[in-house]
Amino acid sequence: MILYILCLILFSIGVYCLLVKKNLVKKIVGLGIMEYALNLFFILLGYRWDSDAPIMDKNIVITSFVDPLPQALILTSIVIGLGVTALMVAIAVRVYGKYKTFNIDEIRRLRE
């Protein structure tokens, strides 16, 4: 139980970084922390007591596996996180080229 709470604390640190920090690069790091915390939460969901890794081999006798379904989901989720991070970095690089700053307080041309 304590593990899930630690995961959620890590997730909230990531959300804090993403929303509150002023530098664009720190926001990207915050997104990364948030993604890691979510993936870790999912993998921890699959744990079954006193079980082995879900890999079969020819000469091993296994009694119980952990749940392999969350592990397949996390592969997909990591790829999605990679795509979003790559897009975010590309947009941040272009924003720097246009606005000359990474500070989100100065990137406010749309507000007027």
Binding site: L18, L38, F41, L69, L87, M88, R94
Partner: protein, 492 residues
């Protein structure tokens, strides 16, 4: 038969980058053909429902062991909406996208967007819905930033941040349910949910409502919408405002709340209050706007509030009104955004007070814009009048008098706002005769005329539209947790 909605756009999305290096006209033809094929199949799917709910087992693995795709009434309505607006936007892009140097990239992203939207709607599995939702979101982030000007990049970054938070909240909600019932099939979760503790269901429902509301743009989660919708290229704005916020926001939210968790009085209150807040705040913020597309984006917030208010009433008439307004709003809001794009294409200006009367110079644009403005304001006999009338009658019947009065007042203010748009953009006289403003090219005109024709036809023949499209959708939603029995068969 069901995966055809995902096969066609995915195939064209993978083929277009190869083809566009040879000749760009091949890429245009390919994406237009895939859009037309999707429209044809989605209209045909209205008749597939006569045999009952259709389930397709991907890979031959039957549900609940494998991933399934399901087609019920609500899915058919969303398929028709997505593919009509998708085809109209593709037609419009044939001429609009010529201004971009990397046009092949535009069509790739657009086909991926269509693939993601269709996939969200036909998916029967919760994680599959999330994967297609992410495909849609990433394609829309990239398309908002497409013309790389300063404001567009800034708007795309803000949209990305809030969209990533929303996706993370949705994934956390999926994790809550996965940990509780160890399955991802929507019908199976719905069936196994009574054994889960109600607090966990409440946490999961709260996470889902927060995540999907950010994607749909309800108040107080609407902060990204007024920046992102104006900055996108015009056909992409039409897709965003007309289809994307409804599919990944409203459709997914209703699928989870009605079919998996079950609708009760708590959700009804939440939806009604979110609806009233969205209607009022959207229209108040829209009155003072002088930027054409930003005004339309604020009106999107307001009209989406109508939809969720109508559905939150919970009565059959309310749900029919809400879903009909969803259908109508996608038609006329996309038409309005295409009109704004045409005005910007011809005059390079989006500020209403700097535009002259364009009614003589651009006849097609101004007349279709008149049709769309009258529809959104709720003037008979256009389509918007009937859906707003049904919502107001349903609100009176459900004893929500404050909500009904709010609907009427917001509708009057919407009419005032669009009269301002019509006056400043189209009806004022041209100051200098030789301004050189010409009508837009052929495909853009065809797209706008198509949508305007649909607005008029749906307004005149609203009873057949209600019976064939909206009533099966409302019945599918009202069946609620019976969805599980329809997909998996009645338990023995």
């Amino acid at each position: 038969m069901l995966p055809i909605f995902v096969i066609i756009p995915l195939g064209s999305a993978f083929l277009v980058p190869l083809v566009s290096r040879m000749r760009i006209s091949l890429a245009r033809v390919l994406s237009l053909c895939s859009g037309a094929a999707l429209l044809f199949f989605s209209v045909k799917s209205i008749w597939w429902l006569e045999a009952g709910v259709r389930v397709y087992a991907v890979g031959g693995w039957r549900p609940p062991f494998g991933i399934c795709m399901a087609l019920d009434g609500f899915t058919v309505l969303m398929l028709v909406v997505v593919n009509i607006i998708g085809f109209a936007s593709l037609l419009y892009s044939m001429d609009y996208a010529r201004r971009y140097t990397s046009e092949g990239l535009y069509y790739t992203l657009f086909c991926l967007l269509l693939a993601g939207l269709n996939g969200v709607v036909i998916s029967g599995d919760l994680f599959n819905l999330f994967v297609f939702l992410e495909i849609t979101s990433i394609a829309s982030y990239a398309l908002v930033a497409f013309g790389v000007e300063a404001e567009e990049l800034e708007a795309a970054f803000k949209y990305l941040v809030l969209g990533a938070v929303a996706s993370a909240l949705i994934l956390l909600g999926i994790g809550m349910f996965l940990g509780a019932v160890s399955t991802l099939n929507m019908a199976d979760i719905s069936r196994s949910l009574p054994v889960v503790s109600p607090k966990l269901v409440l946490y999961g429902a709260a996470l889902f409502i927060a995540g999907f509301s950010i994607k749909a743009g309800f108040v107080p989660f609407h902060a990204w919408l007024p920046d992102a919708h104006p900055s996108a290229p015009a056909p992409m704005s039409a897709m965003l405002s007309g289809v994307v916020i409804k599919t990944i926001g409203i459709y997914a939210l209703l699928r989870v709340i009605f079919s998996i968790i079950g609708f009760n009085a708590v959700f009804s209150e939440i939806f009604i209050w979110m609806g009233i807040l969205s209607m009022v705040i959207g229209v108040i913020l829209a009155i003072g706007q002088w930027d054409f597309k930003r005004l339309l984006a604020y009106h999107s917030v307001s009209q989406v509030g109508y939809v969720i208010f109508g559905i939150g009433l919970g009565t059959p008439l309310g749900i029919i009104g809400g879903l009909f307004h969803l259908f109508n709003h996608s038609l006329f809001k996309s038409l309005l955004f295409l009109n704004a794009g045409s005005v910007e294409y011809a005059t390079e200006c989006r500020q209403l007070d700097k535009l002259d009367g364009l009614a003589e110079a651009m006849p097609v644009t101004s007349r279709t814009s008149l049709v769309a403005s009258l529809s959104i304001a709720g003037i008979p006999p256009f389509c918007g009048f009937w859906s707003k009338l049904i919502i107001i009658i349903a609100a009176f019947q459900a004893h929500r008098y404050a909500g009904a009065v709010t609907c009427i007042l917001v509708s009057i203010v919407t009419l005032a706002s669009f009269l301002k748009v019509q006056k400043y953009a189209f009806i004022r006289k041209l100051k200098d005769a030789a301004s050189g403003v010409k009508e837009v090219p052929l495909f853009m005109k065809i797209a706008m005329l198509l949508l305007a024709l649909l607005c008029i036809l749906v307004g005149l023949f609203f009873i057949p539209v209600l019976n064939t499209l909206i009533k099966p959708a409302a019945e599918a939603l009202l069946a609620g947790k019976d969805y599980a029995n329809l997909i998996l068969g009645v338990p023995r």
